[in-house]
């Protein structure tokens, strides 16, 4: 076979398993070889898959024959972002403060993957606690963009996107609070979906901002995205924010048909500062879709300009509280040196632990969030932000009364250089300007490859739909993908 197993999609591997052409051990070995060849360049993993992965007794013995397995992910290696709990495996959010932490329980999505027969394949690198858009805020190492290793892969799920983009794993899970799945997917030329808030259980996802976080798939194509969504979606009695609605078979939405589909294109997203290659690619993509029978029209989401400000108040406020539990008392790192070395008090131990354990971006966000919730400032910041959040959601409700979906660029630019924005947090925050609104409104959104810049860097197109209408997203994304070949391009590593 001229094509190596590591290059395949999950859907293709399933077919090969069915035909008996391939064994899971072939796939795993092929991936390990690929990791040996490229991981030192890409650095996608925070914790590499264990060498004996999949060898133990599990639903999917790697040696076994997967022909006729009823399990949807039987023998498929899936990488997990390092902020999702895997029982007994290092889960550190790429933070020193969680040094050595091995959770005693599995996140619900991990349980679901195991039941579906998946092989858990390492923990991917990320910005510490998902704070960042470049994967540079990791306590381990920055992850590189497989398309240009001098550039960032995006973030915070940069490790998941880069590992899939570099063919080091078949599929991966990320988490998205303000664009952390979609922006790196866009920058790495892969498919990343942030589901509707409440579609996927957050139990076992180490929270950044509880009201915004969602776990979602990062995959090589739209079909794999639907396959992975089928496995991870659904109500969980351990997460009361997960919604008890039936989960459709998303693979049934993989239909090439956008006839009479009404697409809204928000004028507020074509701002100054948007890369002209990005703008051109989106316009071309819209023309492809309209050539297939869809109709697009400019629409308005008037409160878009407030989204970044609202986000950085709501998200940091929740984060400041969510991260309070990292105190060195029960798990993770505990500082041994304090100013009062002889008899450190409890408070001194906690502050020293947090001082040593958190990186600069985490500290910045904790301080900002603490301030936004403080007595005397709450009304002006947090409460007001929540009110504007409602307005942003209403903007979308209005548009979706007339349109089936909204299409925008995923990020205003392609991947930037490592270090370029590290000392300019505000400009870094703006790389999520197009993705944040979907989290504030709780709606689903996907990023799919739609072209390359003149420098050969991937560009992503974002498709957004009504809450719990992932089906429309899959249909539009699949139709576009099947009529283009961007997703088939591979980086040279």
């Amino acid at each position: 076979m001229s094509i190596k197993p590591y290059q395949l999609t999950a859907n293709k591997i399933k077919e090969e398993y069915k035909k008996g052409n391939l064994k899971a051990s072939d796939v795993v070995q092929s991936l390990f070889q690929r990791i040996d060849n490229v991981e030192n360049k890409v650095k996608a993993f925070a914790h590499l898959p264990e060498k004996n992965v999949g060898a133990g007794p599990c639903a999917c013995p790697t040696q076994g024959d997967h022909r006729g397995s009823p399990l949807p992910l039987s023998g498929i290696p899936v990488a997990i972002k390092d902020n999702i709990c895997v029982k007994g495996q290092l889960t550190t959010c790429a933070s020193k403060i969680l040094e050595g932490f091995r959770p005693p329980y599995n996140a619900t999505v991990v349980e679901k993957l195991k039941k579906a027969g998946a092989i858990l394949f390492g923990k991917t690198n990320m910005d510490e606690f998902a704070f960042g858009s470049s994967c540079e805020n990791s306590c381990y190492h920055p992850t590189k963009n497989p398309w240009d290793i001098n550039r960032i892969p995006g973030g915070s799920s940069g490790g998941s996107a880069a590992s899939v983009g570099a063919d080091e794993v078949i599929m991966a899970l990320g988490s998205d609070t303000g664009g952390s799945i979609r922006q790196p997917a866009s920058l790495c030329g892969v498919v990343g979906l942030k589901p509707t808030y409440g579609r996927v259980s957050r139990y076992g996802l180490i929270a950044f901002a509880s009201s915004l976080d969602q776990i979602g798939p990062i995959t090589k194509d739209v079909t794999d995205s639907a396959i992975l969504m089928n496995v991870i979606s659904g109500h969980d009695e351990n997460d009361s924010t997960s919604v008890d609605l039936p989960v459709p078979d998303y693979t049934k939405s993989l239909i090439k048909d956008v006839k009479n589909l009404k697409i809204g294109v928000p004028k507020e997203y074509f701002i100054e500062g948007i890369d002209s290659d990005v703008k051109d690619s989106i316009e071309k993509a819209l023309n492809v879709l309209s050539g297939l029978g869809a109709k697009y029209e400019m629409v308005s989401l008037p409160n878009t300009e407030y989204a970044v400000s609202v986000y950085y108040l709501v998200a940091t406020a929740e984060a400041s509280s969510n991260l309070a539990r990292f105190d060195g008392v029960r798990f993770g790192r505990r500082a041994t040196k304090t100013d009062n070395a002889n008899e450190p008090s409890m408070i001194e131990m906690v502050s020293a632990t947090r001082d040593e354990g958190f990186g600069p971006e985490a500290k910045r966000r904790i301080i900002l969030g603490t301030f936004a919730l403080s007595s005397g400032y709450y009304d002006a910041y947090y409460l007001k932000a929540q009110k504007v959040r409602t307005l942003i959601k209403q903007d979308f409700d209005e548009v979706f009364k007339k349109f089936d979906c909204i299409i925008t660029p995923t990020s205003p630019t392609a991947a930037f250089k490592i270090g370029e924005k590290l000392n300019d947090p505000l400009s870094m925050y703006l790389s999520d300007i197009f993705t944040i609104s979907a989290n504030l409104a709780g709606i689903p959104a996907i990023s799919i490859p739609c072209g390359f810049t003149r420098h050969g860097l991937p560009i992503g197109m974002q498709i957004l739909a009504k809450p719990f209408d992932e089906e429309t997203i899959f249909r539009v994304a699949y139709t576009y993908e099947q009529n283009t070949d961007w997703h088939l391009q591979k980086p040279v590593l």
Binding site: S210, N238, T241, E318, A324, V329, S375
Partner: protein, 474 residues
Amino acid sequence: MQYYSIIGLEVHLELNTKSKVFCGCAREFGARANSQACPVCLGLPGSLPVLNKEALLLGMKVALALNCGISSFIKFDRKNYFYPDLPKNFQISQYDKPLSCDGHLDVDVAGKTKRIGIKRVHLEEDTGKLLHKEGADYSLIDFNRSGIPLLEIVSQPDINSPQEAYEYLTQLKAILEYLDVSDCDMEKGSLRCDANISLSADIKKLGVKAEIKNLNSFKAVRAALDYEAIRQAEILSEGGKISQETRLWDDQKGITLPMRSKEEAHDYRYFPEPDLVPFILDDKQINQAKNSLPELPAQRKKRIVSEYGLSEYDSGVLIQDRSLADFFEQCAKIYEKPKMVANWLLSDITAIMNSRQISIKKLNLTPQNLVEMLKMIDENVISGKMAKDILPQMIDTSKPAKNIVEEKGLKQISDEKTLIEAAEKILKENQKAVEDFKNGKDQALTFLVGQLMRQTRGKANPDVANKILRGLLS
């Protein structure tokens, strides 16, 4: 200068749900440390709370029994502060929209009814428990208590004396026991109380308050408030100012000591708990809670007065202790003299319960056994005085009175022939008393009856003995 005490009380109550408030962990008292602690109780990264609806129902029952309005909109908030017994370093509580507010409790104080407002009743989670080992340079944490449902019951500052505070707590506890929502045991910490007190020359104006913590019994609440009222009055009458602060009660020394000042108070940075979705309670659920309320102490007091003819006072004392009142009613069902039962329960039996520090339930006494003993008095088998000796033996041995009387040969002697013989002997031996009686000294008869009782080792029926002696003397 005359000052009024203005007192408000905050009661924390552990609800006796089967499992904890935000996870499925069991919650038995005295279980091995950290054996009832899951990722949620431990605040492990990634864990999420899910509301236990049973806790909400019990909370609603309490609120309804305290005449509060139930909020149909249920939401929770995070109270943020760092402390090692608080695993998430925030407590899930209710802030601006509590489960219920604006209720009242009518409290009997010195024969008068006083209405004390209930400001709010809300649901929250308990913390873990710090264990400090003497001499150790570390502390241990037991998270078994972490996540046990707590109900906070906050009174209005309507209480004007330490005794009123004591009565409020006693009568509140009775209601909680009737509702069977908690074991209300202050020693185990399932009921806790903090008190706020300020003094003011004008009863309608609040002064600067002190909050008192570490109150381990209702008596401690009363004593601490007494102490604090005097301390504050002394400062004020010397022209000083009270500083707003939290103080700790030292039960051994009987004093309060400063703990932290207002400036050191936390900014809890309350905000809505994003992990728990707010929801609407419908009327059906509220009505269900209403319909599940049992008879409450005030209703029962009235009923016992009308049904059994007890005095208001006796009924009031009886109903304070739910199991004592239950015991009373069980006796009254099988015995036609309810007042007699009440007298025994409120005197001898209460004395035994107090001296042994146990409840009627733990006393080895059944309503049947008590009634049987009372009937033996009625039938002159034993005297009331003998019964007072027999009762503790019944309790010690769990035997019916009849067996004890037989075993110890304690049967009352009502047989006239036997008693006449004994009386004649007494009269012979006590000529002086006989003389005195004949000279009109009635006390002499009492003496002679006493001698007869001694002779018969207390078994003589006192009425018969009296009659016989009188007959022989005349």
